[in-house]
Every structure is written in C-alpha cells, then in structure tokens.
Amino acid sequence: MTRQIAVDLNGLVVEAEVEPRLLLSDFIRHRAGLHGTHVGCEQGVCGACTVQLDGAPVRSCLLLAVQADGHTLRTVESLAPGDGLHPIQAAFQETHALQCGFCTPGFLMSIEAFLRHRPDPSEDEIREALAGNLCRCTGYRAIIEAVGLAAERLRGA
C-alpha cells in the first residue's frame, strides 16, 4: 500500500508514491536525493536530521513522509544560493565550528530558525537553543561563538 504525496522541498514541488511507514528523513535522502540531511540516531535525540517544516525546526527521523504532504520543507541545501555561504555557514567556517561535519547541517537548520525568532540572543539562550543537537567533535564552544557572530552580522545586514 502506498500513498501519493506532494511536498514543497526547497521551493520545488516533489511528488512521490510512498509507503506510509517511510520516514521523512529517508524520503528526503533516498527519494528526493538530498544527502545534506543526515541520520544519526533515528530516535530524535541527536538532531543530525533537523530540517524545517513550515519554517520550524523538526527532526525528520521522527516524522513520516506522509505527514509532510502539502507542507513546506527546507533542508541545508536551501541555505545559500549559488556557490556562496549563508552568514551562519560563514561564521561556522571562521570559528572552526565543524570538524567531521556530519552533525553540521542539523545545527545549521536549528540555528537559522532560532536566529529568525531571537535575532539578538544571550549566550545562555544560544546554549539552550543548541542543546537539541549533538556534536561529538567540536566540544560546542566554537559553535556557540559562530552563532553569536552570525547573529551580529545578520542584525547588521
């Protein structure tokens, strides 16, 4: 048994026949072919699979593809047009906020949504906002710095 769905994925409407049990993360990766969204635990803890559903960050491993039917999805591939970097991505590079990079797209999608709602966050607010994403490489300090730097630049933009 399958169901027909249509999802606005990074501005393009993707239509597909999917099994009801198909995870949204697997739909994005293996049906839509967007590999920037990563799967780290399939349990909603690590945050590597974070995408934005109608603008809000969600764990794509905790949703089914059919739940995204008719909704708008944004993944890391949508952040920077062309060859450039989004200010959050640029701040990550400058502060060395990524090492292996596997968790990075999830962090970026959480942070982009966070800074839209809290353009001038305190350090404590940044830490709380990041607490839903696990990074095993960096020890987080550089990520916290990157968010502060990006917030400053986005406010100035």
Binding site: A48, V76, H96, C100, G101, P105, R127, A131, G139
Partner: protein, 717 residues
Amino acid sequence: MTWVGRPVPRREDARFLRGEATYLDDLELPGLLEAAFVRSPFAHARLGAVDAGAALALPGVVAVLAGSDLDVLPLPVGGVEGGVVADAGHPVLARGKVRYAGEAVALVVAGSRALAEDAAELVEVDYEPLEPVLDPRAASAGPLVHDHVAENALVRWSRVHGDPEAAFAAAHAAVAQSFHIPRLVAAPIEPRGAIARHEPEVDILTVWCSAQDPHRPLAQLGHALGRDRDRLRVVVPDVGGAFGSKGAVGPEVAAVAAAAVELGVPIRWTEDRTENFLAAYQGRGLDADVELALASDGRILALRAALYADLGGYLYATTAVAPHTTAMLLCGTYRIPAVDVEVVGVATTKVPTGPYRGAGRPEAAFLIERMVDIAAGELGLDPAELRRRNFVPPDAFPYQTPLGWTYDSGSFERCLDAAVELGEVERRRVEQAWARAEGRVLGVGVGMYVERAAGLWESADLRVEADGRAVVRTGSSPHGQGHETTFAQIAADELGVDPEAVEIVWGDSGEVPPGIGTFASRSVAMGGSALVVAARELAARATQAGLSVAELAAAEGGVEASARFESGLVFASGAYVAVVEIDRPTGRLRVLSVAAVDDSGRIVNPLLAEGQVLGATVQGLGQCLVEEAVHDEEGQLRTASFADYSLLTAAELPAIEGRFVETPSPLNPLGAKGIGEGGAIATPAAVANAVADALAPFGVRHVDPPFTEAKLWRLLR
C-alpha cells in the same frame, strides 16, 4: 610567507556546510542492495540451526547468509610487544557460539533496508543460553568463553624493573588503591558502514568503508577474505567521526564484502545507532590495583600495579593495544626507579573493546594521577609540589622509563606552571576555603599526562605540475581533523607556493601510496613529515638546478617525489586543572572550569589544534559526568541509545581555556607530536582529583567515574 603556525580556517569546510559532503550512505551505485544483520539476543550461547525459510519467502529478499555459508577466516588478531595474545579473532558471522549480545549471526540482503530488517526479524535461530562472564576480576574462575583460552586470559603482559619489593619494604610510606574505569562508547554521529562491489570480469573487490584510513581495512579484509591486495581496493569517503572506533574493520564489513563476491551484487550496510551501541567495539573497561612506595621527602620509590582489562568476547587487531599502552605509560611524567606491572586482558561475554580516543592513555593518566594525589594526602604535601619533586627533568631527555618506552622530549614542570596559572589555582584555593566555611563543596584538581603518539611510518607522493599546482597523495586520512588544510600549509611552506595551489588526495587505496593511517594522534607528525621529506627532495633538486620548485616543474613538465617517513614514538604531554563544585543537597557535579595546557611540539594550525583540544576535553568531561556503558547481570547493554547513554550538550559546557607549550620533538622534521587526544586523557584525571579534593572533608579518598548525582549524593551523607 610562512603558513605553518597560522590559524588558517579550513578550506574543506564549504562542502560540509552546504550539505555537499559525501558520506558512506550518500554514495549511489547502480543495482545497490541493502543489508541488515540478525544479531544474538544472548550474551553467551551455543548457536544451533539458523532457519531462513520465512525470511526468504518475503518478496524482494535476495539472500540470508549464516556463518557456515561464508568461506572466510576470522578478522586478524594483533599482538603487543612482549605480551602473549590468544588466537581469538572476531568471526565474520558467529560460528558455534555467540559471545556477546548483538553479535552478528546472519546477514540478510534485500532490495531495501526496511525490507532487509523485516526479513531479519523472520530468521529463526536456535540458541542454548550459557552463563555470561561479566566481571574481569572474577573471570579467571568463570566458564570459558573460548574453550582453548585457559582462565579466560586473552592477553598477558608483565614487566619488573629495579627492585620494587625492596623499595616497598624500605619505604617511608606506601599507598594502595583499587580502581574501576567503566567502558565507554565512542559514538561518532555517523555510525559505521560499508558498500562492497565485486567486478568478476577483473576479479576486483571494491569496498567503500567509513574508516580512519584505507590501509588497515585493506589488510584486515584481505586476511579474512583470503584476497590479495591487488584484487582489493578500499575507498574511504567523507567520514562522520571515528575517535578510534573506525580503525579496525568490523565483522559486518567483512560479511558484506564476502556476500558481494558470493552473490555477485553490490551491497550496502549502513549501521544504525542501536547496532553501533551493541556491536561497535567499545573503549576503556579496566579494573586496577595500584600501589606507590614513597620516601619521606615525597619521592616515589616504586610503583606496583595489577591491571584487569575487560576485553569482551573476541580480539580485534587493536584490542590488546589499549591495556598495553596503559601499562607502558603508568609512570606518567614521573621518574620512578622501580616498577612491577602486570596486565591480564580478560575474555568477557560483552562486545569487544578497542581504541577509543586516548586508547589506554586516559586509563594510565587516571591511575597514576589519582595515586599521586592520594600519596600527597598521605604525606600531607601539596599535590602540585609532590609532582614537582618527581617530574622527569628537562635535561633527562631522551628518557627511557623503567617500563621501556623512551620519551623523546618534554617540559613537564613548565606545563604544570602554565596550568596552575591558567587555572588560577591560588585564587581557587582561597575561594575553596571560603566555600567550605559556608558549607559548599568545592574541589581543585591537577592532572598531568604523557601521550604516546605517532611512530611506525607513513607515506606521501608529491607531484608539482608544470603550471605550479601541487598534488599530495597521502597515506594519512581525515575524519574531521582538517588534513586538507594542514597538509596544504605544510606543502605550501616547503614548496614556496600558496596553500590554494596544493591539492590533497587521500582515502582511496587505488590512488594513494601504501600507508598506515590516522590514529594515535599521528597524522601531522608522520603523514606531515613524509610530505616534508618528499617536498625537500624536490626543493633540493630545484636548488641544484638553480631554480625554484615551480620553475623546475615548468622546465621539466612536472616533477615528482615519494617519501616514506619512519620514526620512533613521540610523547606529547600536558597539564590540566579542573575546578568543580558539588551541590550538597543533590550531589550534582558542576565542572566550573578546565585549564588545558598541551605540549604537542610544534603546532601547524593553532585554530584546528585548539579545536582538537576542546573536542577532546569535552569528551573527557562526558566520561566524568555522564558516560558509562552499563551491562546488566545477563550481559545485556542497558545503555544502548542516546537516551540512556548521554553525550554532553552545549548547555552543559563549562569554561575551557587552553594554552600550548611547544617543546619540539627531535624525531621528525616538523618537530610535531600529537594533539588529538590530550583533552580526553588529562580531563578525567584532573576532574577525578578535583572531585576527591572536594570530598576530602567528608572522609572520601577516592571515587570512580562517572561522577553521577546518585553516587556523589550518597558520599555526602
């Protein structure tokens, strides 16, 4: 312009930031099938019939293979110098018995992962459960895990130097303590995985593998599959973290590789998080009894230690390495004239252990640094002062320890001075006195470390094209470290070009020269030095011709050099200071600050080096605060998810300040040592000393990690 020593941001970042990196599960191959494993639910059981009938009846299921269906050898076992190691390699799929819960028993190949998992649940396996073997101290009297391994002793190693017995008999004082260091899970955010494809017309087996380098998978798969290296190619794509856990290839990878040949189809296995907890080799897991003999002035006269390593059901190529390293580093930064150290690596019915960030070094630092603090308490001396009285002095290098390794260089007291200053130990002691008067529980701890790094050899092929671009083919292999930037900085300096003109090629055994790989904090010291040697050969040829390297390359239509750099072990070192406060009503531990001083020799890129220190330190903090792999009385892993085995988050991060001392190694042209592990080595020792310091007024002398609320609350009663 000089590039080495500059905090250059990473040039490889863009592809990771834009979601364009290619990890194992991102690879696409035509006709690719997916694998899932049937895993043992028992820690110890005799294995009976495997019935795949119902699984094979599912449409889309291609094959179900059990141990007897594959013509393979177990994965190879590795030895340690001066030790005895049993022949107990990990079978590719279980044969006769299962020796841990989660061990792979059968492989299901199907059109999708979901279908393969559905089918795996339909495979019926007969098990006759046996008594599990769990406690490494009691395992010698337990049921045999391997019939041919007496007393369950997989590894034995010992060394006596000097006259420890006489030293203890004549000592002014002696201190003894028993320890338990729990098992840990490396938990890279990308679990393991592999794709195997066999091309029968040329008989080439290609294995894409989430690994720390292509070389060791190549050797280990070649051994298990009985395949010559010229019929095997290993490609390492972008890797989402490893921390030691992707150094030895897993049996699942060998199973997928053998099945791809057997079935004539390309197969992928993408490990899920549950499998990673259950079946990826774990780290640490050590019980120990340690004694120090002391003179009245605080000099350490002798060290005695018995180590019981909980090695699990089988030996990987690297399983014996960690306990051996612990033993060899037990003298730490101190000049100790007499030693008596014994290691027993014990078979238990748990997943095997292997290297995890530090791999034996954190255990050594924890044991000796705790013992020094306990000795300071016994003698009524300041712990920092006791350390100063025992340090190997700067003029003693190269210094051979009584355990046998030779420290190449070091500035131990300088590191301690820097850490005491950075960690504001004097101010913190005053604060502690005030806090105690108010009934608060504050502690200050120092942890020194020595890190065995580098050693063996590494390779580099260097080609400078006629247009001046340089291509470096390195045997070293990144999984987050930033080789594409640091190696380009090194090449740029040696060749007199811009780093942007240097391309770094790594990871594909068909492309790069034979090498060893990235582990033991060896990439810069070994791989970087091989690159330096190759570049200097080109520079010498250019100088002889009166030209620059670029001019020579233009004149000759490109020039090439290859190097194989070999060296003895180098020893990074450092000093960490931790300040902690324990909440009296709840027992909750708060780490207030960590001061990290690392002497890793010459630093190529301070930005990336600091990243290594911060990352390693936070992993070290995780070990202190929350991380512990817990097995129940049946040998089931109780902490098999991120909900039960927590990693620290950004919200729990204390203030961490770092500083580098740069004592160059005389053993390589860069003067480099290792920077990847110091934080994971020294942090648990420093925090453990701070916790014991905090609890001293409560009559507590020692606490084993992790320092959980429940454990500390009880001690505060």
